[in-house]
């Protein structure tokens, strides 16, 4: 690992000053569980690591029944899935964050880091996409909102400019009669990277027999987490029955553009897209009915 300098700003302002001065040779460090691995194999070689864990705005974790959930980019996963509001209103976020890495990884890794790392196999990004989450990005003198579904631009790359930092991830307040769910397939029971991951969001009508709106997003089957808009279009207004859910699974399979690698063949991944999409949609429905 190349020699690197380290700074730990304690205010957002001082962090943004550093980034505007030497953002192009700086890497923002949160949990470090992805970045340090990349630095060691020299996939990234910054001159400066800027630690974001002491910046107050990046450590916010608050829920408001109207505006929804605000998650600071440096909030560690274990704090997120232990939060009472998150457990109550956003079980899908708990699905995702309790399976990233393992217990010791979750002691350091952050949701912001998972998003900025922009791995096609990231477990949290499909969930954020189906929940309609947005990312608040700041640079010196400028703030902008980006929908998480547009945040990743390719394997390991995102929309952040070199002088910008991800401050918070904002998840809308949960609508009535709605629920989300995330699941992935891995050969082992733990300590693995998603061969395929599926996040689903379902909103049913009052009587619960028709889909009002559905979002499905897939991990590990495209250069970026995939938002399968075809499913949203197809299912909205449709009856809740196995035949339609089966078709949704088929649409997920067709939308996927997987590669073959050590974690699975393309053909196998496509097969899993349909299997997991059906299972995840049914799980979201169960969550609505169970609530």
């Amino acid at each position: 690992m190349k020699y690197v300098d380290y700074e730990r700003p304690t205010s957002l302002k001082s962090a943004l000053d550093i980034l505007s001065e030497k953002g192009d040779v700086t890497k923002v460090l949160a949990g470090g569980t992805d970045i340090l691995v990349k630095l060691r194999v020299r996939r990234e070689q910054p001159d400066l690591l800027m630690d974001s864990k002491e910046i107050p705005e990046l450590n916010e974790l608050s829920f408001n029944p109207d505006t929804g959930l605000t998650i600071g980019a440096a909030v560690p996963l274990y704090k997120l899935y232990a939060d009472a509001d998150v457990k109550k209103h956003y079980p899908a976020l708990v699905d995702s964050t309790t399976i990233i890495g393992g217990i010791p990884i979750q002691g350091r890794a952050t949701l912001g880091g998972n998003l900025c790392n922009a791995a096609p196999s990231a477990d949290a990004i499909p969930t954020l996409i189906v929940l309609g989450a947005t990312a608040t990005i700041q640079s010196s003198g400028n703030t902008r909102e980006v929908s998480v579904s547009e945040f990743c631009t390719g394997p390991g790359s995102n929309v952040l400019k070199s002088n910008e930092i991800l401050v918070t991830i904002n998840v809308p307040a949960p609508a009535d009669n709605s629920a989300a769910h995330y699941m992935r397939f891995i050969p082992r029971n733990e300590m693995d990277i998603a061969v395929v991951g599926v996040g689903s969001y379902v909103k049913l009508n009052a009587s619960g027999d028709k889909f009002e709106s559905v979002n499905v997003s897939l991990a590990s089957v495209a250069p970026t987490p995939l938002n399968v808009t075809e499913i949203s279009e197809f299912l909205s207004g449709k009856d809740v029955n196995d035949e339609n859910i089966e078709k949704a699974g088929q649409l997920a399979k067709e939308a996927s553009k997987p590669i073959s690698d050590m974690r699975g063949t393309a053909e196998y991944r496509q097969h899993l897209c349909s299997v997991l999409t059906k299972r995840s949609i049914n799980k979201s429905i169960e969550r609505i009915k169970g609530a």
Binding site: P187, R188, Y268
Partner: protein, 748 residues
């Protein structure tokens, strides 16, 4: 031949005492290879080939040497010149530092030593090597194809040590013949055959290889490392560096797992050469990537098996062809696989052909009963197929054909007394096999496995302390609690408490020659040597008591720690008391034991596996697993169970998810513990164990080595369970979820 004491009267053997090195290991004080520290220590890293097969046209490390903090660089030119015609030493040195050609990705080319590891690593990027790329052979089929590029240009296939005129990538052809297989197949009612392939896998020890070497000005070399054999390391260092054994001392530190993978040496000679140039001690610790790509995994390859049987279940003929990847240099375990492929079954007509095939992959090393699991993956499935077709219970079918004492192995010698039938009986009566397994997508599979175990040389010495305790000095590095199992045998023979025996594992200048910790021999041979050393001490103590009491030596009786004399009932003295008087009565006592056992009993083991398949994802879950093994006599039952559970876990990993995944450029893609999927605690059920005890008469306490046979049956047992759960026969490993799905979709 020492007769075996009546097992029912053992005081120490069979109990479960705490291991003597336990406290340091649970408090973090134990010193492993990587923990070694020394004044003036500098750090080494190794530059390795990115190509699977290439000629080295030039190496330039000037820039590396100029980097501030870099102290020395070595290449193959720093190794002694290979004498003409001596191919073997050329191969040994070639795997330490590549000369003229690189033969696999990860093949060592140069070593760098610097003041800290980060600088050494940066220096690696400043080394420039000019390659001429050659086509690579990445599996046995490619390598055996006559059109494939010769990896060792001027080598010819050997048969029984004789060089033939065939120039291909096959280094050796083994053959064993018994009776006439053609006749046997002619009068068979049913013949079943199949070609079963396995893929390269790794031992997976959690501690990467670590070693420190100090080459002093007086030409003496000391190495501190984690190793399975300090003496074999000393011999190999002498061989590779061409310096006399008298100049070399190997100090074994604690070893963080090996399973055969830490029998060879890799970075020790490089650290030694760097130390010689730098005049400082050099420590080299491998990265996990290097452990996967540059040490000694076990081979992939195929095992074809054909078995003929009468309708009543009697086997009439067995034939097999095995071809295993040797890796870049000759020496795959295909010879051992050829020995074990039919070991469990009695049949007068057998023919076995084994091929040791050179491929552009790391040189394979031992991995727990090397070669036997690959062979059993084929044989135990063909046997399962036959028992299904004949409608005979798979255990009964094996029992009908099981070998017994006096039956011949395929290579000729007769089987000694063994516990195969008792293992099969225990499998049949086991709680798991008696329990019904119902429901869709579920299956139960069983299999048996064999390992012949080895004896080899071991030496121990025992000195008596004035408080009646004894020091046990031994040379076997302790991977799985063997300090305890060896000390228990010394305590049993000396009839003193286990806690009174203080074992210590010492370096190669402090104890007699002791061979490798491997081949399931440590508790067997080193335990035997400890027993002999204890007998030596006991006899000297008896003589001393007779001198003190002025009675004849023969009249003195020693039992349960007490000396007494038939000559005078009044005379009575404890071991402890006599020990306190040794100095005054002629001097302290030390005993020696040395043995290279000629007779060695092998070990049979069995596995029972219940599993369930998720037909949508292809993922399998092990519901219940039982390991059964003949231990002869379990000295420390907890550690025997530990070996059986550990071997089963490795077998399960091998069966389901472990593989070397190569891309089309001959590069391993999954050389990390993330994507080389070894089982986690969540992937395994409780592993039940049943210890069978059929004593081996060639050991004073009836011990049979248990370290290895237990890894043999899990993979075929799981494959047989998969057949019951899916109706499909699996001819390839690993049986991971994508493989299961593509099997299920084959005809539906």
């Amino acid at each position: 031949m020492t007769n075996i004491k009546d097992p029912k009267k053992y005081e120490v053997i069979g109990t479960r005492p705490l291991r003597p090195d336990g406290t340091d290991k649970v408090t973090g004080r134990a010193i492993y290879g990587g923990d070694f520290e020394m004044t003036g220590l500098i750090h080494g890293k190794i530059f390795r080939s990115p190509h699977p097969h290439a000629r080295i046209k030039s190496i330039n490390y000037d820039k590396a040497l100029e980097l501030e903090g870099v102290i020395a660089v070595v290449t193959a030119d720093d190794l002694p010149v290979n004498p003409v015609g001596n191919i073997a030493i050329g191969y040994s040195r070639g795997n330490i530092l590549a000369k003229d050609k690189v033969l696999y990705v990860g093949h060592a080319i140069a070593g760098v030593a610097a003041t800290d590891p980060h600088i050494a690593e940066e220096a690696l990027n400043l080394i420039e090597v000019d390659y001429e790329l050659l086509s690579a052979a990445m599996n046995v089929e490619e390598a055996m194809d006559s059109s494939s590029q010769r990896i060792h240009e001027n080598s010819f296939m050997k048969e029984f040590g004789e060089m033939t005129t065939t120039n291909n990538n096959i280094d050796e052809h083994f053959q064993h013949k018994m009776g006439n297989v053609d006749k046997g197949f002619d009068n068979a009612d049913l013949i079943v055959e199949g070609k079963y392939s396995t893929v390269m896998v790794h031992q997976g020890y959690i501690e990467p290889q670590a070693a420190t070497a100090l080459w002093r000005a007086d030409g003496s070399l000391t190495v501190w490392n984690s190793t399975q054999g300090s003496f074999p390391d000393r011999d190999e260092l002498s061989n590779i560096l061409d310096i006399p054994i008298s100049k070399i001392k190997v100090v074994p530190l604690e070893i963080g797992g090996g399973f055969g993978g830490k029998i060879p040496i890799y970075q020790e000679p490089v650290a030694a050469l760097l130390s010689k140039k730098a005049g400082k001690p050099v420590k080299i610790i491998m990265s996990r990537k290097e452990v996967f790509e540059s040490t000694g995994p076990t081979p992939g390859g195929y095992t074809w098996v054909k078995i003929g049987v009468k309708n009543d279940g009697k086997i009439t003929a067995m034939q097999s062809e095995l071809a295993f990847e040797a890796g870049a240099y000759p020496g795959s375990p295909v010879g051992m696989g050829s020995l074990c492929v039919f070991a469990a079954y009695k049949c007068d007509n057998q023919l076995v052909d084994g091929y040791d095939v050179i491929v552009n992959k790391p040189k394979t090393a031992a991995y727990r009963a090397p070669g036997s699991p690959n062979a059993a993956f084929a044989t135990e499935q063909v046997i399962d197929e036959i028992s299904q077709k004949l409608g005979i219970d798979p255990i009964d079918f094996r029992m009908m054909n099981a070998i017994s004492e006096g039956d011949r192995r395929v290579d000729g010698p007769k089987f000694p007394v063994n516990g195969l039938k008792q293992v099969l009986e225990s499998m049949k009566n086991s709680p798991q096999y008696q329990k019904k397994l119902e429901g869709p997508n579920k299956g139960r599979g069983i299999a048996v496995g064999y390992w012949f175990n080895v004896g080899l040389q071991s030496s121990c010495s025992i000195t008596v302390n004035t408080d009646g305790s004894v020091n046990l000095i031994e040379g076997s590095t302790d991977i799985g609690g063997s300090r305890a199992s060896i000390a228990m045998q010394a305590a049993e023979t000396l009839e003193i408490a286990y806690e009174s025996v203080n074992p210590s594992i010492v370096d190669t200048s402090t104890v007699g020659y002791t061979a490798v910790t491997g081949g399931s021999r440590t508790t067997f041979s080193t335990g035997y040597a400890a027993h002999l050393a204890a007998e030596d001490v006991r006899d000297q103590m008896i003589k001393r008591a007779s001198e003190i009491w002025g009675v004849s030596n023969d009249s003195v009786v020693y039992s349960k720690g007490q000396f007494s004399s038939n000559a005078d009932p009044e005379l009575n003295m404890s071991f402890k008391k006599l020990a306190s008087q040794l100095e005054k009565t002629g001097g302290s006592i030390a005993g020696n034991g040395s043995i290279n056992p000629k007779k060695v009993g092998g070990s049979f083991s069995g596995s029972i596996c219940d599993l369930e398949i998720d037909p949508d994802t292809g993922k399998s879950t092990i519901l219940d697993f039982t390991a059964i093994q003949d231990a002869g006599k379990a000295i420390h039952p907890s550690y025997v169970e530990g070996q059986m559970q550990g071997g089963s876990a490795q077998g399960i990993g091998w069966a389901l998810n472990e593989e070397y995944f190569y891309d089309q450029n001959g590069i391993m893609n999954n050389s990390s513990l993330l994507d080389y999927r070894m089982p986690t605690s969540l992937d395994l059920p409780d592993i039940n164990t049943i210890i069978v005890e059929v004593p081996d008469p060639s050991h004073p306490y009836g011990v049979r080595g248990v370290g290895e046979a237990n890894i043999v049956p899990p993979t075929p047992a799981i494959a047989n369970a998969m057949k019951r759960a899916t109706g499909k026969r699996f001819y390839n490993l690993p049986m991971n979820p994508p493989a299961v799905i593509s099997k299920l979709n084959q005809d539906s």
